[in-house]
Every structure is written in C-alpha cells, then in structure tokens.
C-alpha cells in the first residue's frame, strides 16, 4: 500500500481543488492511502472530498494566538505545532505532496520524512537549505505558474503532471449525502413546477453566488441587481440566490432582497449540502469563490465573473461547458506576479462587466452548441472557455476584446513547455495563433525574434564568462554579472521568458559539492537553455509557415473566384 500525504494549507477553494489530485492518485493506484493536512477551518471542506482516508489539522488560530500574545510562552506555540504534526512525523511516507506551495508547507514537507524510495513533490528544502525538486514540473509550478499572471498552465494541471497522474474524469470527486441530494432535487423540482409558465420550455434554475469574502472579487452590486431583475422577469429562468449559513451573508441577501422588492428565492446551504444543491441546478453564476470550485467538481456549468486579484489562468475551470467572463486580461493586476504585462495600477473593475454581458453569456450557454453566434460583449470584456488538450485544460478566448499577442504568448508557451517535458500538444495551437489570434504577425514575429536575439547575446556572454571563470577565479564576478543579466530576461511578452524562469529555478536548486561541480552543472543548464531558444525559434518558424500558407491559400481562392467565367460556345 502506498502512503501519500498531501499538505494543503490554503483557503477553502484551494482545498477543494485537491479533489482532482486525490481522485487521480486513487484511479492510478487504488491501493493508495491518502492523508491530507489542512488548517482547522478547512477540515469541513476536506471531509467533503472523496477518497481521502485521513485528515489531520493544524489549529492555525490557536498557534498564532499562542505565539503572538505576550502572556504565553513561545514554547506553547512550538509544542502545539509539534504535537499537531507528531502523527505525520512518525510515518515514513511514500509520497509527500506540497500542494499549497508556500513556505509553511515547504518547511513542513522538509521536516517530515519519506521512506528510502519515497519522494517529495513540490518545493522542499534539503539540510543545506537548497531547494529540492522532484521533477521539472515542480520547477514549472514554483517558478512559472506561481509567479506569472499569464501562466500557460493551471495549478491543478501542473500538480497532476508533478505527480505523474492523469485527471480522473468519470468518478465523483466529492462526497454528497443522499439526504441532502434528495432534498435539493425535491426543492429544485418544486421550484420548476411552481414557476414554469411554458410547458414546452423547461424553466432553468440559475444559482447565483452573490457573496465573495473579497470585496474586489464581488460582482458589482448594481450589475448583480440588474442581472437578477432581468432573470426574474424572464420566464425561461428561475434565479436562485445561494448563501452560506453565516449571519453576514444572510444580512447581505436580506438587503438585496429588499432592494429587489422581496422577489428573491434564497437557498442557504453549508459546505456539506452545497454540492447537492449545485448538482440539482442548471447553471451557476458566480465570482471566484469556493462555490465555483465545488461547481467545477460537480460538473455544474457555470459562468465565473473573474474580478479583482482572482487568478484567472491559474485556477480556471476544468468543465468544458463553463465560461469565464473577465475585464480585458492584460489590464488586470493579479496578485503575486513578477512582471505585470501592462504595468497597470490596481483599479476596481467591477463596473466593467455589464448586465448585458452576463445575460448574453447565459443566453449563449443555453442556446446550445449548434449556434455559430457568440455573445455580444461590452468594450474591454473577454469571454473564455476551457478547452481540453493533452496537458490538461487551457482557457481559450471565445469573444470580446482579445489581445492576440497576450493570448499567443500564453498558448505557445504552453505548447513549447509541454512538448519539452514530454507532452505533445496538437499543432492546432500553432495554427490558431498564426491565423486567428495575432493580427499583425510580421510585427509580432519581429518582436519575438528581438527577444530571442537579446537573450541569445546574454546567454553567449554568460557562457563565455563561465569558461573564463573556470580558468581564473578572478573572472567569477564578471560571470555572475552576466548571469544576473541573463536571468533578468523575464518579460512576460516574450515566448522565451518561461524558459528563463525555469532555468532560474534549476540554477537555484544547484546542489553540487563545490564551486567546480556547480559550474559544471550550470554549464549544462546553459546549453539546455540554448536548446530551448532553438525550440522557440522553430515554433516561430512554424507559426510563420502556417500564416504564410493560409495567406497563399486565401489569395488563391480569391483569384479563382474573380476569374472570368467561361462563356458557353455559341
């Protein structure tokens, strides 16, 4: 039996996303025992995840009170954490997964032990404090996904790759009580029967998550009211407001209800019942909240309105029927980014998304796949949908304001990195970028080639300086200066930037015995980066070829259509 420990010391929504990894691990190896470590306040969420065998918790609030409050000795806080981790410390794990990828989890992962064949997935530290990575996907997670706003991969997909498992798509990932499910189904059926006016057209129940714990992520109040009002007056839809059994949410819902003339139908559900409610409704409208994550796991289609610092591309939906509506992504400021694309200041963008945007998207969803129409959106708004590929699920722009440059860098980076790590993606990405996304391909190509040229110069200077440093230690400073310059090439507009970030991760993880060993390893990494540059150039060439071929075909077609018709003989 394999013993796997997953450390997830993040928020509720992030705890729910663990369900993807747990189901994948169990599917690959049913004889796996999964233990999860979470904070106390997230234990309820963890209990709703299927296939977790044991849940251990850290009482974060208690430990912090013991540490911060001066009346208590620091020893109490230390011992509290020590005792909390004791059951885990006494085990020799086959696998420890640092799911949350923060320093706390990394230190805890470093503190605990695996058996002699065991491995630690995700960031952890060796005794010499060097970062220890299990695979290149670990580096992608830590150096690229965590730090890049326009990330080519989501957290979930990267974690699946890090663990060498594929997503489990068929079985339920959540535990749902039969009683809750029966109640929810009965109540929703009752609603439909009560409010359905046209017997030929079934009324659709649209759940609306009105509350987000982060104000900046919340759907604009007037927008929310406008949407609900329209849905109420449309006989095809039954809006159902969803809240948690918390006083603040009850008050929020009551106030909203008053503003809307007491017409709202409000459903209160705690975490144990929420999944049952979500599986019974037809659609969900939500900001980035735990409800979104649960809906995704339940395969309930949803329209996520992504606002504030909600990490759009890192936590995207996996459900191909869902959508994400967002202000123009390059203008957003996400948290924890290294290099903001347009260096915009943080602004409240809740007013960017209009009532009509949301309603048009709902209409689009219910119009079915057979239509070629796309929703009309306001200026500066984009609609994305999840598209599956061999690396997992990517968000692809459907309509609205789209930056071809921004989208191409993200998608082509995905293509390149996946391929370099052994996952071949379909060439459709290349064709899509060449012929749909980028509006002025020659300009974009020139820009990318300039990036490559600049990095190539820095790379060659670094290699030269490295060789000189090997011959004379007096040249080490020059080498370090060149290396610093190379590592600074992380402009997110560049296709090569992700590779530089991965290279940086590998440099930081160097664990050679001394200077000579490290230099030798570094040399190898520099040649790898050089090879990555070639891959980027090849992809650029493929994009150009695709574009040129398409243009030629278009011109040929156009000239054939304009050719004089052949007159019949007299």
């Amino acid at each position: 039996m394999q013993h796997v420990l997953i450390i997830n010391l993040k928020r509720l929504g992030d705890v729910y996303t663990t369900a993807n990894l747990v189901s994948a691990l169990k599917s690959q190896s049913p004889n796996t025992e999964v233990t999860m470590l979470v904070f106390d306040e997230c234990a309820g969420a963890a209990r709703n995840i299927a296939n977790i065998d044991h849940i251990l918790t850290i009482n974060r609030k208690e430990i912090i009170t013991l540490k911060v409050n001066k009346i208590f000795s620091d020893g109490m806080a230390v011992e509290n954490l020590f005792e909390a981790l004791k059951p885990l410390k006494s085990s020799q794990w086959d696998r420890i997964v640092n799911f949350s990828n923060d320093k706390i989890s990394a230190y805890i992962a470093s503190y605990l032990n695996t058996n002699s064949n065991g491995k630690k997935i995700g960031v952890n530290f060796s005794a010499d404090k060097s970062i220890s990575y299990n695979s290149e996907w670990d580096i992608v997670y830590n150096e690229l996904v965590a730090t890049t706003e326009n990330t080519p991969f989501s957290f979930v997909d990267t974690l699946l790759k890090m663990n060498g498992v594929d997503e489990e798509k068929t079985k339920s990932k959540l535990i749902m009580s039969r009683k809750h499910t029966e109640n929810a189904e009965r109540n929703i059926a009752h609603l439909k029967k009560k409010f359905q006016t046209d017997l030929n057209t079934p009324a659709r129940v649209i759940g609306i998550q009105i509350f987000s714990s982060h104000k900046a992520k919340q759907i604009g109040h007037e927008t929310l009211k406008g949407v609900i009002n329209k849905l109420i007056s449309d006989s095809r839809y039954i809006p159902l407001v969803l809240i948690a059994p918390i006083e603040s949410e009850r008050v929020f819902a009551q106030n909203l209800n008053q503003e809307l003339g007491n017409q709202l139908i409000i459903a209160e559900a705690d975490l144990s019942a929420l999944a049952s409610v979500l599986t019974s409704i037809d659609f969900l409208l939500t900001p980035d909240t735990v409800t979104k994550h649960i809906a995704d796991l339940c395969k309930t289609p949803c329209l996520e309105v992504s606002l504030g610092s909600a990490p759009l591309f890192k936590q995207g939906s996996k459900n191909p029927e869902s959508f994400v509506l967002t202000p123009f992504a390059p203008s957003r400021v996400f948290s924890n980014v290294e290099n903001n694309f347009l260096n915009s200041e943080t602004t409240d963008q809740s007013d960017v998304i209009q009532v009509s945007d949301i309603l048009n998207c709902i209409e689009f969803f219910f119009s079915g796949e057979n239509t070629n129409l796309v929703p009309v959106l306001s200026e500066n708004v984009t609609l994305y949908r999840p598209v599956s590929d061999q690396a997992g699920v990517r968000l692809q722009a459907v309509c609205g304001k789209i930056s071809g440059d921004y989208e191409s860098v993200r998608l082509l980076s995905r293509y390149l990195i996946a391929k370099s790590l052994g996952t071949d993606l379909n060439d459709e990405i290349i064709e899509y970028c060449a012929n749909t996304l980028v509006k002025d391909l020659p300009r974009w190509m020139d820009e990318q080639k300039t990036f490559v040229t600049n990095i190539t110069k820095d790379l060659l200077s670094t290699l030269r300086a490295l060789i000189q440093a090997q011959e004379s230690k007096k040249k080490v400073i020059e080498f370090v200066t060149n290396l610093d310059r190379l590592l600074a090439n992380t402009d997110d507009r560049s296709l090569i930037s992700p590779f530089v970030k991965i290279f940086r991760g590998k440099v930081e993880a160097l664990s050679g015995e001394g200077f000579t060993d490290n230099i030798r390893e570094l040399e190898g990494l520099l040649y790898e980066l050089k090879s990555d540059l070639q891959k980027v150039l090849q992809v650029l060439k493929d994009v150009e070829t695709s574009w040129t071929t398409k243009r030629k075909d278009s011109l040929k077609k156009a000239s054939t259509q304009n050719a004089p018709s052949i007159m019949p003989r007299a």
Binding site: R11, S73, V78, F82
Partner: protein, 223 residues
C-alpha cells in the same frame, strides 16, 4: 507574584441580614451584608451578555455567590458552564469550599498562583484560547488590586531557557535547550537559522514553519 501572607491583616466571616455567610478581609466586605444572593443575581444579569458564550474567567471568588448565580443563569439558558476562577486569598477560597458554597463540577479554581504559574498551566491556556468572557468581582479585584494588575500586565519571559521549561515533550525540550546555548530567544534563533548555510536538526524546519505561520497570520481568510 502570589498574594503575600502578610497582606491579610484581619479576616472574619459575618452573617448577612438574609442569613448568608460573608467574608470580610481587611475590613472589606466581599459581598453584600444585606443579601449577597440578590446582589450576585443582579450583578450577573447586568454583566453576562446574551450570546452563545459558555466560557467565563472570573477574577475573585469571595464566597462564590456570583459564581453560583452565573452557573444558574447559564443553565437556564441551556448552556453548559465552564468557569475558571482566579482567587489570590487561599484562606477565603478553602473556607468557601469547606462551607460547600461552590459547586466545583464545572469550575476550575486557581488559588493564589503567580502569574507565571497561571499562564503556563496548559489546561488554563487551552481555556484562555477559547476567549472566555471576563467577569471581575469588583470587591475582590479592588482589594487584591496589585495581584490582579500583575496578572493582567504579565508578559511571558522570552528566553529559550524559559521556553524549554514550559515544554513537556522531552525531544522538543532537549532541542530548545540546545538552541539556548547559542541563542537567547525565539526570534534570535530564527535569525540564526535563516542566516545559517545549513540546518543541523529536523526541528529547525519546524521552527521556521512556525515563524512563517506567524508572519502570515493576517493573510489567510476563507474564500
């Protein structure tokens, strides 16, 4: 600092008009000489909030009339009382117990313990972490004001030696004692661990994890 034996100059037990025993310390009546029961009930009615709280920290025992009034009020509200009483006067406390004036089933009595002893009691700490409502028996509080002020102004020593003394686990105690050889406090130890090129013990990672947890204490919210 516990209550000094020389603090109590005189002590007697009087009988109130309602027939109840009232302790008088240094000429201070610790309860009403007319009707201590009624006084206690009125006091509790005014003091105890209408909420779900069932944990109470009481400064001053006297002869416990306010404690019994508190117990009664909680039971009427269908709450299970959990009461901790801090009383510096051992004589008054033992008399109260011997006279059967207090039901100790749901009470913990801390009798004349120093601040260090109070705050380093594991069970008491666990209780304090539940954020009990604090009730001050004003007659006791005013009489023993120095004692209670010391208690309220207490700050735990930050030395690693003191830290080690509070720890029960032998493994952890030994580790902290080792750390104390080269560091003075927790923050000092963290600075050293962060600056050092390598870590000598697995528990070093635990210390770093705790430090990180405290640094991020205001960042984690549910959502």
């Amino acid at each position: 600092m516990s209550l000094s034996p020389s603090f109590v100059k005189n002590y007697e037990i009087k009988i109130s008009k309602s027939g109840h025993k009232v302790p008088v310390v240094n000429d201070v009546h610790l309860h009403s000489i007319y009707d201590p029961i009624k006084e206690a009930e009125t006091f509790i009615q005014k003091t105890v909030k209408e909420n779900d709280q069932q944990n109470f920290l009481v400064f001053g025992l006297g002869f416990g009339y306010h404690i019994e009034a508190l117990r009664k009020a909680l039971i009427e509200r269908k709450k299970t009382p959990h009461i901790v009483i801090i009383e510096p006067n051992a004589k008054v406390a033992y008399d109260c117990i011997e006279l059967g004036l207090i039901n100790q089933d749901d009470c913990y009595l801390s009798i004349n313990q120093s601040a260090d002893e109070v705050y380093n009691n594991k069970d008491l700490t666990r209780f304090l972490l539940k954020k009990p409502q604090v009730i001050t028996h004003s007659s006791s509080f005013n009489l023993y004001s120095d004692y209670f002020k010391t208690l309220l102004g207490y700050e735990s020593p930050t030395s690693l030696e003191h830290m080690a003394r509070q720890i029960h686990s032998p493994t952890l105690k030994e580790y902290i004692n080792d750390l104390s050889l080269t560091n003075t406090s927790f923050s000092d130890a963290i600075t050293s661990l962060s600056a050092s090129r390598s870590l000598n013990a697995e528990l070093d990672f635990l210390m770093l994890a705790l430090n990180e947890l405290t640094l991020k204490s205001d960042q984690l919210t549910n959502g």
